[in-house]
């Protein structure tokens, strides 16, 4: 299994103007129309449960239909979904996460950054023992990378295409390594399909990266400055994390739409790429509920669990947002520090030039050099702050939002008790899985972040140790 995905090539095939036009200006068109045109997809419930025995996430094939009156979404129970390989060998996925260079190297300090690999915290090292202990048998061997943002087309219809590379030994895929080109709206389309299929059954579908009007406008305008480069890089990294999270979910991994997304060279243009968020589904549900007699939700002991969880997630969300805001401030100030250090380095160099005492002059020039190197350090650290810490937090905030939506939805579910129980079970399992993931994820990232801080400090030590004799040499 290839361990490192090489960073995007320097300079070549880099678009000079970044323009991406995203179709579907409005994120939130009427959900009714979406309903009509959303692809009919098989219900997850129709998964042959037997094949998924090791994976206890698969629900029993109950016909989960929201409402008798709405047939579109959930009518067809086809057998499209099937597991090619029911057995999943516990595979030692010991490869480190793909190396992600945090910045498209065109305009920024590229070579330096490549040496510092900052990885998205998704695929972690597992020992054999760990795998055996895995309750869910959540073992899978698949690695996703998103790279090479490239401008396609010209003028107002241009967009950014990203290369999605999959490396896997799972036999459900036809090849072990393949890549396709996808655009942002394709990702949104994938999410909307997955959400429409799985959200209402209680699965936590990872949210897609956000559209950004501001970011895209800058890119559209063709500004080839560091902010649009940064924007593209930010988006690329977010898309990668999104896919990685999605494939980590054992049920979603089975989904044919996901497979098609990863594999097929030509993807039908997603017509409705409005992110069909949980909010959209919720609205849908509400509309339908109005047309039918409400059924009282049976109070059972699981409600207490839900309430507690809801509260817990509410708190978590709040705290994470606070933390995220603080980390953003940190990133900002570190960037400032970097810029100010660079400016100081220059003026120290000038001062050194003026100084007519030779040894002092030399020492001052040395100081200027040290400060310049430190400035670079700060820049890199700022990237680490951002890509590791800040983005992780914002991902989690959005994930929690998705979780909350499920729970909200759950509270309004209108069905027979059996179905309710089924969904509630699913949700519980999902939440449990989410919690576990969260723990691992967070720890991995934090450790990497701290390690990056260590590196910075060690460099600082090197620089100052080199400078000290120069200072002492001033006679």
């Amino acid at each position: 299994m290839a361990a490192e995905r090489e960073p995007p090539p320097l300079g070549d095939a880099k678009p000079t103007d970044f323009e991406e036009l995203e179709d579907g200006e409005d994120l939130f068109t009427s959900t009714v129309s979406t309903l009509e045109s959303s692809p009919s997809s098989p219900e997850p419930a129709s998964l042959p449960a037997e094949d998924v025995s090791t994976n206890s996430n698969g629900p029993k094939p109950a016909e989960v239909v929201l409402d008798d009156d709405r047939e579109d979404l959930f009518a067809e129970a086809t057998e499209e979904v099937s597991l090619d390989s029911p057995e999943r060998e516990p595979i030692l996925s010991s490869e480190p996460s793909p190396a992600v260079t945090p910045v498209t190297p065109t305009t920024l300090i590229a070579p330096r950054i490549e040496s510092k690999s900052m990885s998205a915290p998704v695929i972690f090292d597992r020992s054999r023992e760990e795998i055996e202990e895995e309750a869910n048998g959540d073992v899978f061997d698949i690695e996703i990378g998103v790279s090479d943002p490239e401008k396609v087309g010209d003028g107002m219809n241009a967009y950014m295409a990203y290369r999605v590379t999959t490396k896997t030994s799972l036999s459900m895929f036809s090849k072990s390594e393949f890549s396709v080109k996808r655009r942002f709206s394709d990702f949104l389309g994938l999410h909307s399909k997955l959400a429409s299929k799985y959200l209402h059954v209680g699965y936590i579908v990872p949210p897609a990266p956000e559209k950004s009007i501001v970011g895209m406008t800058k890119v559209k305008v063709g500004k080839e400055d560091s902010s649009s480069t940064e924007f593209v890089e930010k988006r690329r990294a977010a898309l990668e994390r999104y896919l990685q999270r999605t494939v980590k979910h054992p049920t979603l991994l089975q989904d044919p739409d996901l497979r098609q997304f990863l594999e097929s060279s030509e993807l039908p243009r997603a017509v409705n790429t409005q992110a069909l968020s949980g909010a959209g589904i919720l609205r849908m549900v509400n509309k339908a509920a109005d047309a039918v007699n409400k059924m009282t939700i049976k109070m059972n002991e699981s409600d207490a669990w839900f309430e507690e969880k809801q509260q817990q997630f509410e708190n978590l969300d709040q705290q994470l947002r606070k933390l995220h805001a603080s980390v953003e401030a940190l990133v900002c100030h570190r960037k400032e520090l970097s810029a100010n250090t660079a400016a100081f380095a220059k003026s120290a160099a000038m001062l050194g030039n003026s100084e007519d005492h030779t040894a002092l002059s030399r020492a001052l020039s040395q100081l200027a050099e040290v400060e310049e190197k430190i400035d670079q350090l700060h820049q890199e650290q700022a990237f680490a702050d951002f890509y590791m810490f800040s983005e992780l937090l914002s991902d989690y905030i959005r994930l929690i939002a998705a979780v909350k939506e499920i729970e909200e939805w759950e509270a309004k579910v209108q069905q027979g008790e059996r179905d309710f129980e089924q969904i509630s079970k699913t949700i519980r399992k999902e939440v449990g899985r989410f919690e576990k993931e969260r723990v691992k994820d967070f720890k991995t990232v934090i450790i990497k972040y701290l390690e990056s801080l260590v590196q910075t400090q060690q460099q600082l030590i090197k620089y100052w140790e080199a400078f000290l004799p120069e200072a002492k040499a001033i006679a």
């Binding site: 250090t341 919690e435 260590v454 100052w464 400078f467």
Partner: protein, 402 residues
Amino acid sequence: MEGRQAGKESKPSSVSVDLQGDSSLQVEISDAVSERDKVKFTVQTKSCLPHFTQLEFSVVRQHEEFIWLHDAYVENEEYAGLIIPPAPPRPDFEASREKLQKLGEGDSSITREEFAKMKQELEAEYLAIFKKTVAMHEVFLQRLAAHPTLRRDHNFFVFLEYGQDLSVRGKNRKELLGGYLRNIVKSADEALITRMSGLKEVDDFFEHERTFLLEYHTRIRDACLRADRVMYSHKCLADDYIPISAALNSLGVQEVNQLKMSFLKLAEFFERLRKLEGRVASDEDLKLSDMLRYYMRDSQAAKDLLYRRLRALADYENANKALDKARTRNREVRTAESHQQRCCQRFERLSDSAKQELMDFKSRRVISFRKNLIELAELELKHAKASTLLLWNTLLTLKGEP
């Protein structure tokens, strides 16, 4: 005074005054009190000089009285050939006070702990500014006391000994304006002088010094401003860790799973890191910013000396011309001669002492830079090593947990 730190809480001082072993006049600021909007310094003198009535005595002085003393030196013709130590800057707690006030008005979203920490930070900042202003005032006096000529000034004695208030009010607006105008005139005058025909710099040494000082002063002022900004960013960074630590703490408190320990440990880590970063910022401030600022002022004082000498040179030239004219007209030759004589002597006197002063300035500068740069490097190393240790420990704990 090098050994001053012993027995006294060490005041931050990037500029130390070498008394050259002369202990016949020792001056220090033994105490300072900050009231509403002024600071009262207790100036303590220890001296065995015959002039003073006691061996040891103290007076209370305010900032305006220091300025009065400085101006008295500047206006004194006798000291025209000397670098007058730069006046200490006015104590300025405005920014700090504003921040404290803003904190008080408060943001209900921050926890009590956060509030306490931020308040602590601001108070430490206030204290640091206070200490610095004391140090600046003290250094001013100590340089005067160390200078063989300046220390014998009558006004200086009065300043040190006179028990009562010197009744020196702050400059009123007219005087301030007058001061500004004088500066403008001075620089215009200087420019004029150098372009005056016949006024050639006779001495290579001074020619070099002039070019050097002009450039040096500009560049050190630049460096000082930018060093200030670096220090400020660093401080902001350190302060950013406060809410991060608090949020992590809240998260840790809420958590019920394995993340709890991690969050709490992290919260503690960021709190410690904050203190370290804060120290880095304040050390940079003291060892770099303050030093640059002091020498910016000192180099200005040196420039002023050069100007005075040039002025004297111009006067000398003019006197020569007047003498020639008088000789051709054969009128008032005697007066013209003695005038020219005086101007010549004055100019030469100034040149001699200026040369000495400028060489002293250079060696002072080199010594000070050396000391501070070494200390800066050593402190940065110390903090980087401490941070590394802290990080290793935290990593160990985090990795070790299930």
